[in-house]
């Protein structure tokens, strides 16, 4: 199955209200997840986290993971953005939107993708601002 895949690393804020779209006539499920910076990191209160990446490899790994997971949990669209640089508390560090024929594929895709992202994609929290 062909998956429409859109991957982006950006230093700009992720604007959540721009993410949801109406799926196509054969797409019965849309799942959106965003991961946000919390005000506690290693038991300390913080204002922001700083993220860095090995960018060319991070983009390749995000694509590799999406295509691999799609083999088991076919989705028709996957849109994935990870923000880099300084990200303030409450702002999104990562967002993913997937569309599929049925909810089970879409929900599983997002769950597995986020687990694998945290294992394999060369992006690091490199510091925090108190």
């Amino acid at each position: 199955m062909n998956m429409k895949l859109d991957i982006l690393l950006t230093h700009q804020p992720i604007v959540l209200k721009d993410w949801l779209e109406t799926p196509g006539p054969q797409e019965g499920a849309q799942v959106f997840f965003s991961g946000h910076v919390r005000d506690l990191e290693n038991s300390k209160t913080i204002q922001a986290l700083v993220y860095q990446a090995y960018e060319p490899m991070a983009e390749k790994e995000l694509e590799r993971l999406a295509r691999e997971i799609c083999l088991q949990h076919p989705v028709t669209q996957a849109q994935i953005t990870h923000r880099l640089g300084t990200i303030a508390v409450t702002e999104a560090a990562v967002a993913i939107r997937v569309v599929a024929a049925h909810r089970s594929e879409a929900l599983e895709f997002v769950r597995i993708f986020m687990d694998r992202l945290k294992q394999d994609v060369p992006i690091w929290k490199t510091g925090s601002l108190p």
């Binding site: 590799r64 945290k118 992006i123």
Partner: protein, 79 residues
């Protein structure tokens, strides 16, 4: 051969790249040995660090060529 370092490895070595003389193909495990001989301070990171060649993770048996782009990837923390 230049080897890219990131995050904790970069801090430990005090540089974002190290240079290892390599003039013929070798296995990733052999390249690791050369790196640790030249930079023994990286030894504590070896167990939890993965090597990448041309932006893909390798196994110990992967063949590395002198012009490949090599990076050492410590545990990641994105998301």
């Amino acid at each position: 051969m230049n080897i890219l370092l990131f995050h904790s490895l970069k801090e430990s070595a005090g540089a974002s790249e190290i240079r290892i003389p390599v003039d013929q193909p070798l296995h990733a495990s052999e390249l690791w040995n050369l790196v640790l001989n030249a930079y023994p301070g990286l030894e504590p990171y070896r167990k939890h660090t993965r090597m990448a060649c041309n932006q893909s993770y390798v196994t110990d048996e992967t063949l590395i060529y002198p012009r490949d782009e090599i990076a050492l990837i410590p545990p990641v923390s994105g998301g």
